[in-house]
């Protein structure tokens, strides 16, 4: 362990020849890119062969921590980095819980997995002792059973495990990785990459000390952050506190985004969940926010099942987008996704899409096996299982909504709601041009976590003191750029975005500096974020993504919003182009959305420049 929060070591696994090696962390690179998205995104950029098939042995799967992981710092998390089988872009998928801290305590900043094993294996890391073990007896097993079976085998229930379910094994393109337990690296299909490598799980026991640069100052900085984080909105109701807000403001996706308000949203709200299903609050390692609610279903067919609470996104996608408001049913579908190892956002999006196919008579009962109407939660659950098992029509849907719509044809593409292949989450952009730009330019496709300008558009002053008008375009590219830079730095620390509503760059710098001794100020924090965002853009340019792909689903661009405060709004192609032009100019990118030589040089990314120049 190094005296600066880093373990100082990377664990590298080549599954093809079952080779395990350890290498020192490059501290010069770490000073420049910090950790998480930045540092290990750089390693992915440098090492991954461009344009490979994401499900081929050549792809890399990186479980990465940051310098704050495992320290006293609140809300520290970790990330899985790979090339997405859903989008073909860079993928960084974050997860909370307790796994990444254990990895650091075992003495590693990251695990880099390459190749493909000949049989199903799991990786067992016991401090310095690392071995591959047969996972034949875990084949096809759900996530929580996989978790408990490995704990039985190791005879220690304090070890931490990340694993895939049956969906990951079957290469469902939106399979997630489940970490101890039901904390998901959800989006973009990292679970399919893990499945393609024949790696069922990673189990860790770590007993070493993490050393920080100045422990007393670190304690002070954390205390200060704890005070600031008191009364965080997520502390009282978790993410479901957003349900009523989103519905009132017209951002809650009803019937595959046909509208953005749901009459029965109330039944999925935090208040309804608290009355019906919540039994226990939990938190990730050392986090004072405690956004997790363990729930127990007490009514109807699902009685007795212990599940996670319905997070905002799941309420939106498995609930409203499928026109389902039954609290227990949505919670159970969410549980199915967790257990089978599916990203619940993508799964909900796809089920809603299939329901619309039936509504429009593009699909018939014979094709799917049963009648499929909006609001039918029995059909939803059956379809989720079919997708995870790739049974019947589920095999088509397991490819993601973009590919499924292409297979179905007959104009189905026009209501397949995705960006670059990643199913769009429950923050649709009609009524928020800034959100439209943030989604269109998000590095991993349809994702709301690379910038969330909605709050500013509804009246909060920007961090640089401007106020924005909700529906005009003015000032939107600037705030989207700011959000992306700020979050890219946050994701390099690696800190949870739920802490940012109460903490600012100065808080994060203080936490970072007391751990690492780097002496980074807020200005440099933002510059690191910009560097990381440009690095990832360069990765995507190298994979063939430019302005053409910076776009929105057709529905958001031509179908006026039927109801809500922003009734009638669309983000027209003209509006989007206007925002993109201004955004690229602010970014220092050319009109194709490619970072310019000057910009990359200014961000000290010279090596990156040669790479994208080669790609032309």
């Amino acid at each position: 362990m190094l005296p600066n929060g880093y373990a100082g070591k990377i664990l590298r696994i080549d599954l093809s020849d079952e080779k395990i090696s350890k290498e020192p962390l490059n501290m010069e690179l770490a000073r420049k890119f910090i950790g998480g998205k930045g540092l290990f995104g750089k390693i992915l950029f440098d090492e991954l062969t461009p344009r490979i098939d994401p499900l081929s042995p050549e792809n890399m799967l990186i479980f990465a921590t940051g310098p704050l992981t495992g320290t006293l710092a609140p809300s520290n998390r970790a990330v899985v980095i790979t090339k997405s089988p859903l989008t073909g872009t860079f993928l960084d998928s974050y997860f909370g819980g307790v796994f990444s801290q254990e990895l650091k305590f075992a003495g590693y900043d990251a695990i880099i997995v390459q190749g493909k094993a000949k049989d199903l294996f799991y990786l067992w890391i016991d401090d310095d002792n690392v071995e591959l073990r047969s996972a034949k007896n875990l084949k096809g097993m759900e996530t929580s059973r996989t978790n408990s079976r490995i704990k039985d085998e190791i005879e220690d229930n304090t070890i931490k495990i990340g694993c895939i379910g049956p969906a990951g094994e079957r290469l469902v393109r939106f399979a997630c990785i489940d970490f101890d337990i039901h904390r998901q690296a959800g989006r973009g299909g990292a679970g399919a990459v893990m499945g393609s490598k024949n790696l069922k799980a990673v189990a860790v026991r770590g007993t070493k000390d993490i050393e920080v640069a100045d422990l007393d100052a670190h304690k002070e900085a954390v205390k200060e952050a704890h005070v600031a984080l008191k009364d965080n909105p997520y502390t009282s109701l978790g993410t479901s506190s957003s349900v009523s807000f989103a519905n009132d403001q017209g951002f809650f996706p009803w019937r595959n985004f046909q509208d953005q308000t749901f009459k029965e949203a109330e039944k999925l709200s935090g208040e309804a969940q608290r009355d019906r299903i919540w039994i226990k609050r939990r938190a990730c390692y050392a986090c004072p926010i405690r956004c997790i609610y363990i729930s127990m279903l007490k009514r109807g067919a699902f009685s007795g099942v212990v599940v996670d609470a319905i997070e905002y996104e799941n309420a939106g996608m498995l609930g409203a987008s499928c026109d389902i408001s039954d609290t227990e049913a949505v919670a159970y579908s969410n549980y199915l996704c967790d257990e089978l190892g599916l990203d619940a956002i993508s799964a909900g999006n796809i089920v809603g899409f299939v329901m619309e196919c039936f509504q429009k008579n593009l699909l018939k009962k014979e094709a799917v096996g049963f009648e499929f109407k909006f609001g039918d939660f029995g059909a939803q659950m059956a379809l989720i299982k079919m997708i995870a098992m790739r049974e019947g029509f589920g095999d088509v849907l397991a490819e993601g909504v973009m590919r499924a719509a292409q297979r179905i044809g007959k104009g189905a593409e026009s209501f397949a709601i995705h960006i670059r292949g990643l199913e769009t989450p429950a923050w649709p952009p009609r009524g928020s041009p800034g959100m439209g730009l943030a989604l269109a330019t998000s590095d991993r496709g349809g994702c709301h976590q690379r910038g969330w300008p909605i709050g500013y558009e509804l009246g909060s002053p920007t961090p640089y003191g401007e106020t924005l008008d909700r529906l005009t375009l003015s000032g939107k590219p600037k705030i989207v750029k700011w959000e992306q830079d700020f979050l890219s730095a946050l994701y390099s620390l690696v800190e949870c975005e739920f802490s940012r509503s109460m903490l600012n760059a100065n808080h994060y710098c203080k936490l970072l500096n007391t751990v690492t001794g780097f002496g980074i100020e807020a200005d440099e924090y933002m510059k690191i974020g910009e560097r990381v965002w440009n690095l990832v853009r360069a990765f995507n340019v190298r994979e063939g993504f430019t302005r053409v792909q910076d776009t929105l689903p057709q529905r958001f661009m031509i179908e006026p919003l039927p109801s809500g405060p922003a009734k009638g709004h669309v983000i027209s192609l003209q509006d989007l182009n206007k925002m993109l032009n201004e955004y690229y100019a602010l970014r220092g990118w050319d009109e194709r959305g490619v970072p310019t030589q000057d910009k990359l040089a200014q961000l000290e990314l010279e090596g990156v420049l040669n790479q994208i120049r080669m790609e032309g």
Binding site: T71, L72, D209, E211, L215, R282, A283, Y285, P288, R290
Partner: protein, 135 residues
């Protein structure tokens, strides 16, 4: 003076373990803490467990070398690391599983909550009052 757990408030975040190791061992390592969060699968029950300062502590009775002593002021059990031989009898004797063994200078030594001499850090750091100091 006693530490009392309120498991209904505990979120299982283990900041008590982390801060205990920071204060007592000058490092961050939850496994070296003198307090531990016991979690019942699948996370429905979390409870911080530390020494309860029994009136007649079996760990003190069972120690063959007299390394454990009761602090007269706080009633906490104090471990004399120089005398302790790491035999683990106290670990087995404790009915609450509150004693752990760790290595100090490569020597196995018992580790028991000493109430931070009357001002426990875990109580101050728990964000949700899951640990209380009763006097």
């Amino acid at each position: 003076m006693k530490l009392v757990s309120h498991s209904e408030n505990c979120t299982g975040c283990r900041i008590c373990e982390a801060i205990c190791s920071a204060v007592k061992e000058n490092t961050i390592n939850p496994r070296k803490a003198r307090i531990h969060v016991v979690t019942a699968y699948p996370g429905i029950v979390d409870s911080p467990v530390a020494c309860r300062q029994c009136d007649e502590p079996p760990c003190v009775d069972v120690c063959p070398v007299g390394a454990l002593n009761v602090d007269q002021k706080t009633k906490a059990i104090l471990v004399d690391a120089n005398t302790c031989i790491g035999c683990e009898l106290c670990v087995n004797a404790c009915p609450y599983g509150a004693v752990t063994i760790h290595f100090y200078n490569r020597k196995k030594t018992a580790r028991i909550c000493d109430l931070c001499h009357g001002d426990p850090s875990c109580v101050k750091w728990c964000p949700f009052a899951a640990i209380e100091l009763k006097t």
